[in-house]
Symmetry: C2
Subunit: 283 residues, 2 copies
């Protein structure tokens, strides 16, 4: 019987447990998480079979999925390089920035322990193990950053993830971090800033945030995501994010200048360009 | 029989025609729009009874709803002040910035022609008369800026709009313009900028925009809205929008600095604050 250890039973980790349970009824899934309520919920639902501490669970694993915040993943990778593990174990993670994680994994890789970086490009403004679901990643890209895994191990991992219906994509760690800063991290920063800017100036307005229509709600939805997880993401991808914010501010200032000057042509062209690109995302 | 003239049969205007048709089967609705296809569609669906030019239709009206782009509304208000109109006619508009429109309406008001400014705080990334629907504004705020209307005229207008199930809210023109710059116009600018910033840096990346997950799509959805309408909105509310963008940039730079410095506490507090506010919008 195959033993899978999922460490971190939040939205992502618990969804992966659900997916692997669907893929193969014979696997044993051990869950590790400091939160009693979540663990108990997942045990009751038979999504995990047992709950153990990470140090007890890891040596028993054929597959280890690190699904905590990035800072926890990095610490656990360091722990793993000094722990007695099964010879053929595959270790992977779901962290949303990969340079820091692949750097932390160097000792593992040097010791010929199989590691492959992973990152499913999905998520939700919800969080927690209760909110997980097997179709959370359906249609989304799942990045893989090659480390020391064998082909056979990767095929087995993909088999266990098959019910997720992701689109697998291999990518380099730096390229990954720039890309996700653009499509995920900076949008998060921007949505957060939009909410906070408005909160301040509406504090004394009785109409307040009630006037916010559907467009505003869509634009700021991700600002309701888990602050702990997103703080860890920001800290782990600082360089790419701060550079990308600079680019964003440059473009924003250009559009602001056009608005201030009443430059109809530039405003129209800017909106038209964005409309075309945004529409292409839905195809 | 009451005659209603709706000028501009796009998303908003055609939805208002649908709403008033539902409210009162006895009204005659005359539509004005340069687009043959839309007018024909609405005639076929019996949403409008006739299509006429604005200058022919306006003198026949008991109620005139100006539902074109803001620049067209302003021109039509000027035209109306020199046209022969029914004594008891009420003129209203749906423009999303009110200072410019209330200023344009001064000659009408001086001539004791009834005018009340209006703005339904809804909309959609869709556009066009085919996309209109009677529940487009359901639950949304409908701003009213008092001009020269009588109480009886306002009551009659609200009766005809009853099926829309809006929340009526009276507001001053300047206060309105600041408020909508915050909850609507600047979010539009920000979503547009986000799409365009990323488009540029992903131009040479084969993974490209395909990696964009649900969060990015939500955040940028409004960037797919009609560029003509939004250009007119930007031009009509320049001062409030450019000031609000300045505030937004200040806040963005503060968060960027915290990320650059790895200031975990500030990042966490910023995300936590936004999460609380954003969650309050859904209550």
């Amino acid at each position: 019987m195959k033993t899978i250890v999922v460490s971190g039973l939040g939205l992502i980790g618990s969804s992966i447990a659900r997916i692997m349970r669907q893929a193969d009824q014979t696997v044993e899934i051990i869950g590790c998480d400091p939160d009693d309520g979540t663990a108990q919920f997942l045990l009751t639902k038979h999504i995990i079979d047992r709950r153990l501490s990470f140090s007890k669970a890891a040596p028993m694993a054929d597959l280890i999925v690190l699904a905590g915040p990035v800072s926890v993943i990095v610490n656990q990778i360091r722990e793993l390089s000094t722990m007695p593990l099964k010879d053929h174990v595959l270790i992977t993670d779901v962290g949303s920035s990969k340079v820091e994680i692949m750097t932390a994994a160097k000792p593992l890789i040097a010791n010929q322990i199989a590691f492959v970086g992973g990152h499913p490009m999905a998520g939700s403004h919800q969080s927690g193990g209760q909110a997980g679901r097997p179709d959370l990643f359906a249609g989304a890209i799942y990045f893989l950053v090659s480390g020391s895994q064998t082909n056979a191990q990767l095929i087995e991992f993909k088999r266990l993830m098959a019910p997720a219906k992701v689109r697998w994509l291999e990518i380099g760690a730096s390229e990954h971090d720039k890309l996700v800063s653009e499509v995920s991290h900076v949008p998060h920063v921007v949505a957060t800033t939009l909410v906070n800017t408005i909160a301040e100036s509406l504090a004394h307005n009785p109409v307040g945030l009630k006037a916010a229509a559907g467009g505003f709600k869509d634009t700021t939805r991700i600002a309701a995501s888990d602050p702990t997880m997103w703080t860890a993401i920001m800290l782990s991808n600082r360089d790419a994010i701060t550079e990308e914010i600079d680019d964003f501010k440059d473009q924003l200032t250009q559009l602001q200048t056009a608005i201030r000057n009443g430059d109809e042509q530039t405003i129209f062209q800017t909106f038209t360009k964005a409309k075309k690109i945004r529409e292409s995302l839905d195809n």
